[in-house]
Amino acid sequence: MGGEKMALLKVENLSTEYDTLEGNLKAVDDVSFEVKKGEALGVVGESGCGKSTVMKSILQLLPKNGRISSGKILYKDKDITRYNNKQLREIRWKEISMISQGAMNSFNPVYNIGKQLIEVMIIQGNYREKEARDRAIELFEIVGLDKKRLNDYPHQMSGGMRQRSMIAMSLALDPGLIIADEPTTALDVVMQDRILDKISELQKKMELSMLFVTHDISIIAEVCQRVMVMYSGKIAEISTTHNIFKKPYHPYTMGLINAIPTVVEDIDHLVSIPGYPPNLINSLQGCRFAPRCPFATSKCRAESPEMKLVNENHRAACHYIEKADKFREKSHRTETWEGLLV
């Protein structure tokens, strides 16, 4: 947990763009962060904030009309944006694996789960058939699935079982980094809870390095040690989970925290942030959150804020860091947010 852990993944000034019919869309704008070995970094934000694009950029799985326009992605100190296909195939799954959303066709429907697990072990891991089979059973045990399930077809499994299979598969080659992109979004609340427990347990026990992406900030706390909040293609704030929840410095983070219903407090109604994120096609002036920010000034609307260091482990992109305490207080009150003209 100390600060001396090696940074496994370093993203430096990453910008990713898409060519669309309406124009050039900069989905990720100058994003920099790190994931240390053994640490789970949560990535949270609304749809369209760029979190999925960041993941796709790291995995080099951008669609045909997408490209990394600038920046570096350093994995174990090597810039993987420069890798050719052969080099990429060397690190795929062996070093970086993923857990996807778990929608219906997240697995190939015409092969049973076991085959799909074993496939990657044989092709990428050079396992022999028998070894792969044994390892598959072992992996299923780790995630709490009966080995008989290996013969099931994806449609025969429940959502929760499929997600466990996903997790098992992601661990198959002992990767250095696991990218989990909305792994519980497609599940019901009860199942979501169980899977989160499992992921959390595995992450801590096996000291997995992980990027955990979600739009739901309430589930981050359980799994992640650090959190990165994204808004409109940029990082709004990044710090430890504790700080993000207890001492947020960016108004957007404050809004997100206050929108979480808790069982403990008595709330009349939920605070929510009115309005929508901006259209990323047109270049924007000023802070992107300004239109929805209850504390925005003319300076906010004119100038885009730089990433400021709050302390060693905490950064936020706001002009008014020093006023954060006051903002935090106000953000607890619903009138603050409803006062916005949107």
């Binding site: 795929r92 066709n105 429907p109 092969y111 990428q124 077809y153």
Partner: protein
């Protein structure tokens, strides 16, 4: 799986039964003289009487119907061919096999080529290859099969001399019985008619495959396959194509039916001694018993392929069966 198969078989049998009934009534009600449909007027009066009796032609229609059914189901007796002066079944026995071999080869060609081409077309979207495949498929679909056959004969048989122009074997060739089907000579005769037939049916599986591939490439499991670092060829075929071929395979049954129906034309052009050619010759000679039976057997073959195709689909898509 067995229940699935059983249900399909029963459906097929019922349909066949209804078809036999339709044919019966067609042949009794349509021509001016119904008895002419079963009895050769050029036979001796005694022989005519015999046939009339065995088919109950002097009895009321409904009784005739039952006799007709009984003859077919119990004895496989479709009557006597006017032309060949043999029982219809003995004439048609070898024909069925010839037609089945030709039809099966053609559909295998059409679907295997079509599916592979469709997959490649989708993967290399927007290329010249894709464009020319679409044009070629369209052309062969719009051209009547018999004409394509004639053109191929012109070019490849008479023009280049690469292939024989008729029949299933050279006159005087030695091999007989079932072995003749495995001879090089037979295969040599099979190539042109099978190819011509296949080209006509290539377009649909090709285009269906292409469209399905384009959709499949957006599915999450394809992205997963890339993330796993699998080689591209494996992703195209083992993952994407294996799924994309499902829509095309649903058409296999209807296509097979169409193919056997249309095979008449190919057999005629290439003088291929199958059911199709027989039905044309029988109908033109007014050899009604032979024509009836050929028709029924063609329908039977079609239904056989339909059931087979359904089985195949069940095998390919586990979601149907499990």
């Amino acid at each position: 799986m067995l229940i699935f198969l059983g249900k399909r078989l029963i459906q097929a049998l019922i349909a066949l039964f209804i078809l036999v009934t339709i044919v019966f009534f067609m042949f009794r009600l349509l021509p001016a003289d119904p008895t002419a449909a079963m009895v050769d007027a050029s036979l001796s009066p005694e022989a005519q009487m015999q046939i009339k009796a065995s088919f109950g032609l002097d009895q009321p229609l409904y009784k005739q119907y039952f006799i007709y059914l009984k003859n077919i189901i119990l004895h496989g007796d479709f009557g006597m061919s006017f032309f060949y002066r043999e029982s219809v079944i003995s004439v048609l026995a070898s024909r069925i096999l010839n037609t089945i071999i030709l039809g099966t080869t053609a559909i295998i060609f059409a679907y295997s080529f079509g599916l592979v081409l469709g997959a490649l077309m989708a993967w290399y979207r927007g290329s010249l290859f894709e464009m020319s495949s679409i044009i070629a498929g369209l052309f062969f679909k719009a051209a009547p099969q018999f004409w394509t056959g004639m053109i191929f004969l012109m070019i490849f048989s008479y023009g280049l001399g690469w292939f024989p122009y008729s029949g299933i074997r050279e006159a005087g060739y030695e091999a007989s019985g079932i072995m003749k089907y495995f001879s090089m000579d037979f295969l040599h005769h099979l190539v042109l008619p099978a190819t011509v037939t296949g080209l006509y049916y290539l377009a649909q599986p090709m285009l269906l495959m292409r469209n399905a591939m384009l959709e499949i490439t957006n599915e999450p499991f394809i992205e997963l396959a890339f993330a796993k670092g699998l080689p591209e060829r494996r992703i195209i075929f083992h993952h994407a194509a294996r799924n994309a071929l499902l829509p095309a395979t649903t058409t296999l049954a209807t296509k097979m039916g169409q193919l056997i129906g249309g095979i008449v034309l190919i057999e005629y052009v290439f003088s291929w001694p199958g059911l199709g050619r027989e039905i044309v010759m029988a109908a033109s000679r007014y050899d009604y018993p032979l024509a009836q039976a050929s028709f029924l057997l063609i329908a039977f073959v079609v239904m056989f392929y339909n059931v087979l195709a359904d089985l195949l689909y069940g095998f390919l898509d586990p979601r149907i069966v499990y």
